[in-house]
């Protein structure tokens, strides 16, 4: 009962209302009349075969693309009608991790994370205080001054997670974060994302790694051909 009350009170941090997105020149929509609501602090998997429209959701949430129909609401802001000049500030409340890490090869782990702070106007002093802390949190203490090519894939992804989390975003989006990693390393990254989730950060993860989904037992939303075919609270890959 208490749980239900809590749910009614809190506003969803992410809301897709009857969203349809058709890319130009595509024969069928990538997302077809999709409605999803994600509460603050949830951990959600989007699963489905390649081309099912999972990554389109990430792009919509980042305001990289706009839907043809419907509304996308993130942090109670209507992303659909957001002017493009407001996008940079909006993005600061969202952390993002990708399959290919997207680290800067000519910068150390520390510099990669500090770069993300400095380009949004934080001072070097702030970076000196915050960056070692977050690198410690992701388990890279002592490897701050290694370059990406001196780190393993799992360690590189940890740097990427640190960079995504250093601003304490409300939402962490992860687009196949374990796609390039072996199973053991993948589990470690998932533990890390779980720990970040426990700080109250909403985590939205797109994946087709069935092992991971089955182990985590979190909410699973399955998409096929642009439609939601399953939405299960403690789901498995199925």
């Amino acid at each position: 009962m208490a749980l239900r009350l809590h749910r009614v009170d809190s506003r969803p941090v992410i809301q897709l209302e009857q969203v349809t997105k058709t890319y130009p020149k595509a024969s069928r929509p990538s997302l077809d009349n999709v409605s999803v609501s994600i509460e603050k602090g949830e951990f959600v998997f989007f699963i489905g075969p390649s081309g099912s429209g999972k990554s389109t959701i990430i792009k919509l949430l980042l305001h990289e693309i706009t839907p043809n129909k419907g509304r996308v609401i993130v942090n109670s802001k209507d992303v659909t009608s957001m002017r493009s000049w407001k996008r940079p500030h909006f993005r600061r409340s969202i952390g993002c991790v990708f399959q290919d890490f997207r680290l800067l090869p000519n910068r150390t782990a520390y510099e990669n994370v500090a770069f993300a702070l400095e380009v949004i106007g934080k001072t070097k002093a702030v970076a000196r205080r915050v960056v070692p802390e977050v690198l410690e949190l992701v388990g890279l203490g002592g490897k701050e001054h290694r370059y990406p090519h001196e780190l393993s894939g799992g360690e590189q992804q940890r740097v990427a997670v640190a960079r995504a989390f250093v601003n304490r975003p409300l939402i962490l989006l992860a687009d196949e974060p374990t796609g390039n990693l072996d199973p053991d390393t993948s589990i470690e990254i998932m533990r890390l994302l779980d720990r970040i989730n426990r700080t109250g950060t909403t985590v939205v993860m797109v994946t087709h790694d069935s092992n991971i989904v089955n182990q985590m037992r979190r909410r699973v939303i399955e998409i096929e051909s642009g439609r939601i075919v399953r939405d299960q609270a403690r789901g498995v890959y199925g």
Partner: protein
Amino acid sequence: MRMKYVLSEVLVGLWRNVTMTIAMIITMAVSLTMLGASGLMYRQVNDMKDLYYKNIQVSIFLSQEVTDQQRTDLETQLKSDPLVKEVLYVNKDEAYKRFQEMYQDAPDLVNAVKPDQLPESFRIKLVNPEQYKNIYDQYKDTAGVDEIVDQSRLLDKIFDILTAIQNIALAAAVVMAIAALLLVANTIQVAAYSKRREVAVMKLVGASNWFIQAPFVLEAVVAGLIGALLGLVALILAKYLLFDGSLQALEGLLSPVSWGDILFVFPFMAVIGGLVSAVTAWVTLRFYLRV
């Protein structure tokens, strides 16, 4: 710290692609020199026009059979004409005196002409010398008028030549400017490509658009300003070598180019060079980075 970051990015950017940077600066410099030169010529031609037109007269020669009535009618008409500033009547004796003075080196010619043969005339100064045509149309058919001669038509030929040179310089400036624009666009594209990873991360973590664009735009502006400075140097050299050197013989005809004139056109060159580069870079980035 952010200013320091932006400035160091600008220097690194200019140095990374140094051959392209040099090409960009040179075309920019040539274009701006041409622009400055045509600006100087514009001032020059205007100065000369002021100087010459002030002293220009229109002569209305009267026919031999002109009656006293016609002459006084014409004089009152001219004096009440709003286009006319001054009217001076020259009778046959005075005309002969002037003729003698003008051709005193050719006594044979002077002896061959009798005072009676020279026409009397009105010498008039116009309020605006360029309205000669109106005067001509108005008086050419008036009774007693033989011929209307305008000195400014001769000068117009000289000014036509100067204006043509000015236009050629301006055209060259435009053509070079197009080349400079394309080079700026290309340089900015190369710079943006070599920094595509940084730009992608900056967009991802929410760096503001101006912060992403500033280093690229400033890179182009710095190149434009260096181009303008080189253009200034070129104009100074041109004054030394041409006006104070080989063209000095024409000094009586051409009014001299002063250092003040050159300093006057330089700010225009700098502003145009910087602004055009900035806009080109910005537009290129909008297409290329989609920020």
